[in-house]
Symmetry: C2
Subunit: 453 residues, 2 copies
Amino acid sequence: MNAYRTIDAYLEKNMDKSIAELSALVAQPSISAQGVGLKECAALVADMLRARGFAAEVMDTEGAPVVFGERKGKSDKTLLFYNHYDVQPPEPLELWETPPFEPSLRAGKLYGRGVSDDKSHITSRLFAIDALLDSDGELPCNVKFIIEGEEETTSVHLHEFILAHKDKLKADACIWEFGGVDHREVPMQSLGLRGICYVELSVERLNTDVHSGVGGSIMENAAWRLVWALSTLKGPDEKILIPGFYDDVKPPSVRDRELMAALPDVAEEYKKRFGVQKFIKGLTGGIDLKMEEVFVPTCTICGLTSGYQGPGAKTVLPAKASAKVDFRLVPDQKPEDILRKLRAHLDAQGFDDVQINFLGGEPAARTDPDDPFVQTVIQTAEEVYEFPMEIVPMVGGSGPNYPFVHDLGLPVATAGLGHPDSRAHAPNENIRLDLYLKHARHMARLMKEFARS
Amino acid sequence: MNAYRTIDAYLEKNMDKSIAELSALVAQPSISAQGVGLKECAALVADMLRARGFAAEVMDTEGAPVVFGERKGKSDKTLLFYNHYDVQPPEPLELWETPPFEPSLRAGKLYGRGVSDDKSHITSRLFAIDALLDSDGELPCNVKFIIEGEEETTSVHLHEFILAHKDKLKADACIWEFGGVDHREVPMQSLGLRGICYVELSVERLNTDVHSGVGGSIMENAAWRLVWALSTLKGPDEKILIPGFYDDVKPPSVRDRELMAALPDVAEEYKKRFGVQKFIKGLTGGIDLKMEEVFVPTCTICGLTSGYQGPGAKTVLPAKASAKVDFRLVPDQKPEDILRKLRAHLDAQGFDDVQINFLGGEPAARTDPDDPFVQTVIQTAEEVYEFPMEIVPMVGGSGPNYPFVHDLGLPVATAGLGHPDSRAHAPNENIRLDLYLKHARHMARLMKEFARS
């Protein structure tokens, strides 16, 4: 532990400076969904890397630019940090206690849009690098950053970017953009993300809405067509009915089940937080609920829209109807394959009038919990946090980890400063300063130990 | 024909005055859906009646007031005019060429919200009364007006009002609020309206939208519950699956089919106007299409709403979902009975979590095409229009004619000044002045002939 005394002292002493840097980054809006401030933010991030002696580039894509930075270190080993500089839209603005792009420090927390997701993860990692450079005059290993600007809009161009720059991105391991502690202050090591295939299904059968007294008995109703098409995708027993949908599902292992069993039960928390009245499929809690939550693929209607949606009655037969539908995928399902099967199924069911607009997708990817790099991340966390890291073999959400795991061939581990009340994607997003310092301490240790491993 | 020379001359000479009165009525907004200007408009209408020597009252209901007016005439027979002073909301405002509540005269048409539906029908009938009083010094028959203020919001309180004032409303026959010519300039005599049962179906299973990565595999999805519930109401074969739904359907008669066969084909017009790609149930046009349009009950989804409806992808599991659904009813179906059967069906199918909010209903009602009053209306039209009136035994839309036919026991005939491009309920609603004059001439003749009949 003594080995890190200088580093920890540097971090304690320079917190204000790092938080000021984070505040400057948060004050620069960078809303990918609205195309706001992305170039400006990318330039700012590149400058922050250069200030640490990194060779940094702002690289164009078909969408928002990617910031790439690289600095050599003492050992031959290379650690790749994946982050993103874009943020969610700040709306609804009226629910913010202080303006989203005016970072505000209150009671040990910094508030602002993107402060947790993902800007503090960028600056706290740079802060760890500052401490290493101050203490040792050099980095213990080669460090690369890939910082994209479209994570909040499903990383549309990232996979292609990675394939086009495999050499540049060559590394031995990767630290993911997020991580954090749970409600018990236990740091979590999340090692897998489900894949996703997000589509909009739409039907248009008339050129205008028609009075329902005229059209009701004789004209095609887009809303009915949509409802009938959707009802062929999944029935009330929750079984997805697209032929071949489950073909490539790889069942979880005994080790997965063991790891999931060790995690806290979620049933009561979900009941309280979301008002769950009952779980589906007869689930009540415990290991079965936890396994089902993440190891089973889904078909979720995320939105429905058609015709009249105002108060009271309007007698109209809608010309158009559409639904947003996401399929969460598990290994080894592939979004393109699901898309193909969905189209074939709708056609076979007589719904060739239902258009499919593919809005984004990524396969699931996982890192082996017993990978040595994962063990290094876990061990270096233990002296910083009061608890050992808890392994989550798979989470229900999705993200662009597939190309890192499968195209770059990297073990991907998580570490970060999220906490249960971070309010990412919501008003009053915030970080805890104590966790900011802990993450910087953890990352400094990780770089040193990784270099030696 | 000579008998009406004085009357026709009066009408020709005084058009400007009557159109000025109509303009003043249109300039008074009276939007029932938004509760705007209803009392003011009712008072204005009552004053217009009083100006013709009517005893007029503005009578309170639980909703908008009803204007009742009565003036004795020479014969004992009593004619009741049913009208409404409320109008549809004017939105979308940007599509109006001139402001909706600033009546504008252009190329033989008067534009404004409510000018056709239904304010011109009020003033043109008063105009006919002016001509009769000018010519004869008295009315040929007793005349009553019932002018409500909630027609555009499904006449919620009218049925009750009529039951409470049956004596006051006693009459021998009724002229309905609407009517008009078709694209060939042929005046139509529409003698039946379908009934309606309008409901909102809604589901709420969580207290907030949940990230679909978290809830997708384990939580109830309101949008799915709604889709599944809807799909039990009607299948792609268009057969309504609620047990007992068709029990009280009275099939059309041979006479109905004869009358419908005489009407023009609608298939090509609907294809052109609404972009119909194909009709449902294998219909292609002709008598089968016309019969199906009006003599068959429906279940129409008028609107769907749930979760995320904006551009792109948002991965959310919706807490709530709802659908607007209208059932058009034929004789002798009753809305309360359909409502009861719908609830029982949803419960039996396992959808007791689907709430039903009843938004309005009225049974179908018809008048016998061979009723002597109908014949008088038809005969008096013939010398005013260039064509004899064409009988439509039933139309697909709905309206509050049931209590007039079944509680007051009246034959109800239609007559009016609508034309195919009236744009009722839409921007740039208008009337044609030539048809305004014709309707006044027709109504003056009707009152005289009805008195003698």
